[in-house]
Symmetry: C2
Subunit: 136 residues, 2 copies
């Protein structure tokens, strides 16, 4: 926590070693951090998934986004089955070091339902409404 | 899971009761779900925090965003100390019912460091660079 607090008052341009930052990330009990993917250019939020250290290192070194699938219990190279890969454009870390935000260039729809974004359900009054159709 | 899967093939405009959707959210072992807040209008991702059921119900009924602070172990009415409140514009749910995305009208900076967004640290090569200054 002190690691991140020290950065709060650092001027723009100040930097720390990536290796140190990764070591200081607030990995949860399962060794994961939540990762938000947003579309480069538009900023549209596409999805939230999780990474372990290995997934993050692979993503940063290859430029192709790799998550950790909690349901499958293994690395999940986004698009490995669908072809809907994400190319990493920029990776950011939040003030507490417990969330990552990726700008990605998304090939095809991000969502397994074939929608551009996973957030296709909108709260409207006392209903939740389907607000996007799958891409054709 | 079947609840959410059924919606995948429903046409736009199809709806379910909010009460049922909330009951089916994938609350974690601590009774929480991750919540992404993005700025209404620009879509800029401001922060990620957590909500329990009570925080979500309060947010939806009052229109003022209330999270659950894991560090303080209590409801956290965003801006209760800083005045930097978030007014809820739109709430969305993802395809698996395990993440919420809020469009918010943010008063002042979202981040406790006085920056507009919490994501002020950018990975650049083998460094992590401070890329935003606090708002004055």
């Amino acid at each position: 926590m002190d690691f991140w607090r020290t950065l709060e008052s650092a001027p723009p341009g100040h930097s720390v070693a990536l290796e140190d930052a990764i070591a200081q990330l607030a990995w949860n009990d399962a060794g994961l951090v939540p990762v938000i993917a947003s579309q480069h250019g538009t900023g549209e939020v596409l999805m939230l998934a999780w990474m372990n250290r290995e997934a993050l290192l692979e993503t940063l070194s290859t430029g192709r986004v790799c998550y950790y699938s909690r349901s499958r219990g293994r690395l999940w190279r986004k698009g490995e089955e669908s072809g809907h890969v994400q190319r990493l454009v920029r990776a950011r870390i939040d003030c507490d070091g417990d969330v990552l935000l990726l700008d990605v260039a998304q090939t095809g729809p991000a969502c397994h339902t074939q929608r551009r974004t996973c957030f296709y359900l909108t709260v409207t009054g006392d209903r939740v409404v389907v607000t996007d159709a799958p891409d054709l």
